[in-house]
């Protein structure tokens, strides 16, 4: 019967489409788990500035530029060790060395960069190197961004936080410094980007013969990767990719666990009858009174938010659901069939009859409900995450939606942040539903002629 189903499913375009999407998700999941292993993704996702420091904050995905008239900038990142970066080193006298680094970069975008960061790292014994940062604009104007001594060996210099630049340029109140230094006219009411070749000169003065200085320049853009970034500069593609295996395995394990256990319990109840059956019935009725979602929330609040614990709790709460009643009705018919009578006659044991005669008989009828059940569990996981009860360490689709909502993604217009995970959830859900509906029509002959 199952082989026949496969032959038949090919005639249902929606089933094939659903199956195709599911297979794509499975492939993506395998790729993700292989390239970014579990331990790595946990560290990655919880890593702070050290991991994600070079990404822009709240950057849209790169493909939004295809839909925009004014192009958003990508991030430009340069190291002093890069081959195309110019270095000038020279000794002035016994205790004075000059080490200039000159970064040259093209800026041809229609919108301003988000920020400009210079990270300086120096090695020295007692006297820290002294550094001046100067921006040479395409129109030849030089803007002194700052002067500092690299105390402690490492200094990060963010242009947006340097109020001195605003004073030096005599900017009006509350004018964005980053926009001003990249604008044709820094004081203009509506600044326009000055396109062309910029130079960033880092002029270091070293006071010791062994002293060295290295630097890194990041011109933060407003787009990043294919998925964009969140408020903590994290690349959303990591979370979106990892959401796939989490959602698929969660939905699959919950649906299979619930369906199979429900089936076994219903079969045992029907076969043994009497008090076994009536206990199962009573448990089902009590379970109907129990509020399932609140119990899950209580587990999350009182005890643990771990995804695995939630998974088991969900299965435990769903086993004695409405499925018991439907399965029971089918098993009651199966029990009366002659082949069961025959099995009993030649002395098959009770458990043998339950597991090898009754259950295989109804497997085709439960496959559609199993497939249709998967999306509901996937969405349940997302729903728990939306209540702030998502897994504490793993990035999941639901958790991105929650973080986006909490951080006002919709109010501030960061639509990509909330729409990407919702689309992923939607496509997964619809794919399983399309497959499930078609399977329902194949396995339930009564629906087939309709």
């Amino acid at each position: 019967m199952l082989r026949g189903a496969w032959r038949e499913i090919r005639y249902y375009p929606s089933a094939m489409l659903g199956l195709f999407i599911i297979l794509v998700f499975v492939a993506v999941s395998i790729y993700t788990v292989v390239t970014i292993p579990y331990s790595e993704v946990v560290d990655l996702w919880r890593g702070g500035e050290a991991v994600w420091g070079d990404n822009p904050r709240l950057a849209a995905p790169e493909w939004v530029n295809y839909f925009r008239r004014t192009k958003l900038p990508k991030t430009i990142k340069m190291l002093s060790t890069d081959p195309d970066v110019e270095r000038r080193q020279e000794q002035v006298d016994d205790n004075l060395w000059i080490d200039d680094t000159i970064y040259t970069f093209e800026f041809q975008y229609d919108e301003f960069p988000q920020d400009l960061a210079v990270t300086l790292e120096a090695e020295f014994e007692t006297k820290a190197p002294y550094v001046s940062v100067i921006l040479v604009r395409p129109d030849g104007e030089e803007i002194r961004l700052g002067d500092l001594s690299v105390k402690g060996g490492r200094q990060v210099f963010l242009v947006s936080q340097e109020e001195k630049i605003a004073q030096r340029l005599r900017l009006p109140e509350r004018r964005d410094i980053v926009e001003a230094i990249f604008a044709e006219d820094p004081k203009a009411e509506e600044p326009v980007v000055l396109k062309g070749t910029y130079q960033l000169r880092i002029e270091a003065t070293l006071f010791e013969p062994e002293s060295t200085i290295t630097s890194k320049v990041v011109v933060y853009g407003k787009v990043h990767g294919w998925a964009g970034t969140d408020h903590l500069r994290r690349d959303l593609s990591v979370a979106l990719l990892w959401g796939a295996p989490v959602a698929l395995s969660f939905g699959l394990v919950a649906a299979v666990g619930t369906t199979v256990l429900t089936m076994i319990i219903a079969a045992i109840g029907v076969w043994f009858g009497g008090w076994v059956d009536s206990i199962i019935q009573r448990i089902t009725e009590v379970n109907m009174v129990l509020p399932a979602l609140p119990i899950l929330i209580m587990i999350g609040v009182f005890w643990t938010r771990s995804l695995v614990v939630m998974l088991f709790a969900i299965i435990a709460l769903s086993i004695f659901g409405a499925g018991i009643k439907t399965n029971r009705a089918i098993f009651l018919q199966v029990k009366a069939l002659p082949y069961i009578e025959a099995a009993k006659a030649y002395g098959a044991s009770d458990l043998r009859i339950v597991f090898f005669y009754m259950i295989p008989r109804i497997i085709p009828t439960i496959i559609p409900s199993l497939v249709l059940g998967i999306p509901s569990f996937v969405f349940l996981e997302a729903a728990l995450a939306l209540l702030g009860l998502g897994d504490p360490v793993l990035p999941t689709w639901g958790k991105i939606i929650d973080e986006a909502r909490v951080n006002g993604a919709l109010l501030q217009g960061h639509y990509y942040w909330i729409l990407e995970p919702t689309f992923a959830l939607m496509i997964t859900g619809v794919a399983f539903a399309m497959l499930g509906f078609s399977l329902d029509r194949i396995f339930n002959p009564r629906l087939r002629e309709l």
Binding site: L425, V430, A433
Partner: protein, 377 residues
């Protein structure tokens, strides 16, 4: 539960052929109501246990009392002068007094049965941490205050979805295979996503992007003055929640009802009626709707009582001041009284509905006969 009612009554006549009908009805009603009551008691007791995490919440409460007492003594200048031992003694006394006041001096097992009996007698007691908007700590008042918004929103949308899907599906089953029919069938997988999910989409489109409808809540702040404007404002806040629910529930509702009606309209007696030349309306009313009435009533009743719990996530997404959100807030502040209160009312409503359904079944479906002597079909 309802299916079981049918099976019981189908088996019943063989066992008790001779007793008079009334006695049978009475006995059946009694047995059934006792069974339902036991179900409710067990269900509510389990909820009490879970809401207290099997006594674990009592530990949290004790720790909270101790902490707040210690804080109070530390900040009170009159106790600063006392030597440490004397102060410690005073703290212990105060902690014991408060524990006795909240009943924490008794073991949890005893407390759990006190909770149970109070809950079952609908003596819902006082909330521990939550207050109603009017400032009361009565659980009854908290629930009563949050109930109207929930009933209003989910009652409206449930009714709309129920009748809309019923009528559309009747229409589709009549015009089976038409373009509209195919559209609905192919849209049915959309129902895989729950209501809150569409809510996020709708909020993104209509509130964040187009800025024509509110993000959430039930009324603007400050609320409009005149009654007419007030109603208009609430209606505006209702559009997105109801829209989201319809998007998620309508297509699957139409699909399953349509299939259900189609199965019934392929029965032999319907073919027979057609052959006799009865008008389609009469066939629909007498031969299709009549036998499916019990199912329709059941799903209507279950849809109505599911309104009670509201939807925790849905109300959270829309910031709707209803029961669901209250439930969630209660869990977050360990307010067992509110959790159990809402649950016990739901359990009672469910039990009463199931009980009534059994009786209604007997009225509308001649095959279901509460232990009666008439032959079952």
């Amino acid at each position: 539960m309802t299916e079981q009612a049918v099976s019981i009554s189908v088996e019943a006549p063989k066992a008790q052929g001779g007793v008079s009908t009334w006695k049978r009805v009475l006995r059946y009603t009694l047995v059934r109501s006792i069974m339902l009551l036991v179900t409710v008691v067990v269900g509510v007791y389990l909820t009490v246990l879970i809401a207290n995490m099997g006594g674990h919440v009592d530990e949290i409460r004790r720790a909270m009392i101790r902490e707040s007492v210690a804080m109070r003594f530390q900040n009170d200048p009159t106790f600063k002068a006392l030597p440490p031992e004397a102060r410690q003694k005073r703290i212990e006394e105060e902690v014991r007094r408060l524990e006795r006041r909240y009943g924490l001096d008794k073991p949890f097992l005893v407390r759990s049965f006190v909770f149970l009996s109070q809950a079952l007698s609908l003596n819902l007691g006082r909330a521990e941490n939550m207050t109603s908007d009017s400032g009361s700590r009565q659980v009854r008042l908290i629930i009563l205050e949050r109930l109207p918004p929930t009933l209003f929103l989910f009652g409206t949308s449930s009714l709309i979805i129920f009748f809309l899907s019923l009528f559309i599906s009747l229409h589709l089953s009549r015009n089976y295979g038409s373009l509209l029919d195919r559209i609905f069938v192919s849209l049915s997988p959309l129902s895989a996503a729950p209501g809150w999910f569409y809510a996020i989409f709708l909020i993104a489109i209509f509130a964040a992007w187009l800025k024509i409808l509110p993000f959430g809540g039930m009324i603007s702040t400050p609320p409009p003055e005149t009654r007419w404007e007030y109603a208009l404002d609430v209606a505006k806040h209702l559009i997105l929640p109801i829209g989201a629910q319809i998007l998620s529930a309508l297509f699957i509702g139409v699909y399953s009802w349509r299939t259900f009606f189609l199965i019934y309209s392929s029965e032999d007696y319907v073919e027979m009626a057609k052959a006799k030349g009865l008008p389609p309306r009469a066939i629909e009313r007498r031969y299709i709707l009549r036998p499916t009435l019990p199912t329709i009533i059941t799903s209507f009743a279950l849809a109505l009582i599911s309104v009670w719990l509201g939807q925790i996530i849905f109300e959270t997404v829309f910031d709707w001041p209803g029961i669901g959100r209250t439930y969630y807030q209660a869990i977050q502040v360990f307010d067992t009284a509110v959790i159990v209160g809402i649950t016990v009312i739901y359990a009672y409503l469910l039990a009463i509905t199931v009980f009534l359904l059994d009786i209604i079944y007997a009225i509308v479906d001649p095959r279901v006969d509460v232990g009666g002597p008439r032959a079952t079909v």
